[in-house]
Symmetry: C2
Subunit: 135 residues, 2 copies
């Protein structure tokens, strides 16, 4: 089972089971089983500068899990009332963002690979770049 | 558009568009858009020993894309008539396996992270561990 811990309203920390043996480690995420949505798309970011800040936007209606499957980074999440920063530094630990949440990703290690598992198609009109609208 | 090159019958090399800017790089894969199936699950393998061989099985009826999103590894694919080994060494280049294909993954670098994007739920009965059945 996936472990879940609330960070702020709209954001949970999730830890997926890690299947290890003498060959190495494996983490699997299946739609409607390990996450409560069908996986419509994934994306991954890499070769991110250590001073770069990614994100800096919110979505009104997207569910996604963000994982740092290699290296580490920090993710700031803010629902307009509460704001927290979480370090992602183990491959099976992610943030499940399922509300109207402002997010910023920063402090990437050189080798960091962030993987996002998302419930909806890409829609550029769904991005909200004005923090003042988050509440 | 995704570039496609046939490796053997049932296996294509695919190169996904990479979106880079001054923050870093991003690759997105959306079901029924960048791949010709709905994404039912993903999995990723890491911390794999350099002498380990993963895979060593076939599936009768699964479509999946294997990518090495960090580091590199070699993937051997065999459809019973033709056999080829492909090095995956760039984050946006993958193998699309969509036939009855024996596969072995090997020569992992210490930092390698292999990501699989799959069209079906996990089913242990779908694994074929007898190479003699592949044809």
């Amino acid at each position: 089972m996936t472990e879940i811990k609330k960070i702020i309203t709209g954001v949970d920390e999730v830890v997926f089971p890690q299947h290890g043996d003498d060959r190495g480690e494996l983490v699997a995420i299946e739609g409607m089983k390990d996450v409560d949505f069908d996986i419509k798309r994934i994306y991954y970011v890499f070769a991110t500068g250590s001073n770069a800040i990614r994100g800096k936007h919110a979505h009104k209606d997207i569910k996604q899990v963000l994982l740092c499957v290699r290296g580490s980074c920090d993710i700031l999440v803010d629902n307009g009332r509460d704001r927290k920063t979480v370090k992602l530094n183990q491959p099976n630990k992610g943030l499940y963002i399922h509300g109207f949440i402002w997010r910023e990703l920063m402090n990437f290690t050189e080798d960091a690979v962030v993987l996002a598992v998302v419930d909806k198609s890409y829609d550029k009109d769904d991005y909200i770049f004005d923090y003042g609208l988050v509440k």
